[in-house]
């Protein structure tokens, strides 16, 4: 009886960890491709504004680092909370 309960517990934990890991990996992948594309478009804007010389052209590019930083912070926070839910006693 105990053995069956233990097996069921191990099975459910393995399932939970597998699904959780897959979700985290997909999430990290989405984060990477979004930041990559964001930086890609920004680099094109830099080139575009480089062609069109002007004194205040940097105004269009402000907020890039802040946005990526905020995105990273949110990802880290959500991941930390979920890991603490899993592991903390």
């Amino acid at each position: 009886m105990k053995c069956a309960i233990l097996r069921q517990l191990v099975y459910s934990v393995a399932m939970l960890l597998t699904v959780y890991s897959i979700v985290q990996v997909i999430s990290l992948f989405i984060f990477s491709v979004m930041v990559y594309e964001f930086m890609h478009i920004h680099s094109k804007r830099v080139a575009l504004l480089g062609d069109l010389e002007g004194s205040n052209s940097k105004l269009l590019l402000k907020g890039r680092r802040r946005m990526v930083l905020l995105y990273s912070i949110f990802l880290i926070c959500i991941t930390s909370i979920s890991i603490s839910q899993l592991l903390l006693p």
């Binding site: 959780y20 930086m39 080139a47 052209s57 959500i78």
Partner: protein, 184 residues
């Protein structure tokens, strides 16, 4: 800006733009920050519910023998991640909206990550009239509105751009440019 020069994709040609002779940038700006408000409201609402679900599953999810806390935890965590990615996709796309006014043309840049990247350009010599509008309480309090260009011709010739900060000032800049260049 220098750090971007080292990135591998920097060598790619920029958006289809060819610099005109004697062209210089007069003004560059992003559309008004109020564009983030609708998605921010949805984000705050859904992520609160999702995080509540995650936390309500209780600590030590791994050691419990019940199925329900595990399901609640997974649903909460996945929803939180999904809504976060959705929000930042929209926010980053909207942050890429930008406007460049040069002494020759008006350029509106628009992008949607992995979906579209557009550049609308109106030459100043096509513009017959500029119109700025601030309608309603929100637009007047936060000082943003529409900017419309009449390019002459048919009824479809009016181009309107939304969420422009201080549209009256921008209209004045363009009108001055038209007057200076003797286009109008």
């Amino acid at each position: 800006m220098n750090d971007l020069n080292t990135l591998p994709w920097h060598k790619e040609p920029p958006l289809a733009v060819s610099t005109l002779v004697g062209e210089r940038v007069v003004d560059t700006f992003n559309t008004h920050w109020v564009k983030y408000m609708p998605i921010m409201s949805v984000f705050v609402l859904i992520i609160s519910v999702a995080m509540l679900l995650t936390i309500s599953s209780g600590t030590n999810v791994l050691r419990t023998n019940q199925l329900m806390p595990k399901v609640v935890f997974l649903v909460g965590n996945t929803s939180a991640l999904l809504v976060m990615h959705w929000f930042f996709h929209r926010a980053m796309s909207q942050s890429l909206e930008g406007i460049i006014i040069t002494n020759r043309r008006f350029i509106y840049l628009e992008a949607h990550l992995w979906a579209k990247e557009e550049m609308h350009e109106i030459s100043l010599n096509q513009i017959k009239a500029v119109e700025s509008q601030k309608r309603g309480l929100t637009e007047n309090i936060f000082r943003f509105g529409h900017l419309s260009f009449d390019t002459g011709g048919s009824d479809m010739s009016t181009r309107t751009f939304f969420r422009i900060p201080h549209p009256d000032r921008k209209a004045k800049i363009i009108t001055d440019l038209l007057r200076t260049a003797n286009y109008g």
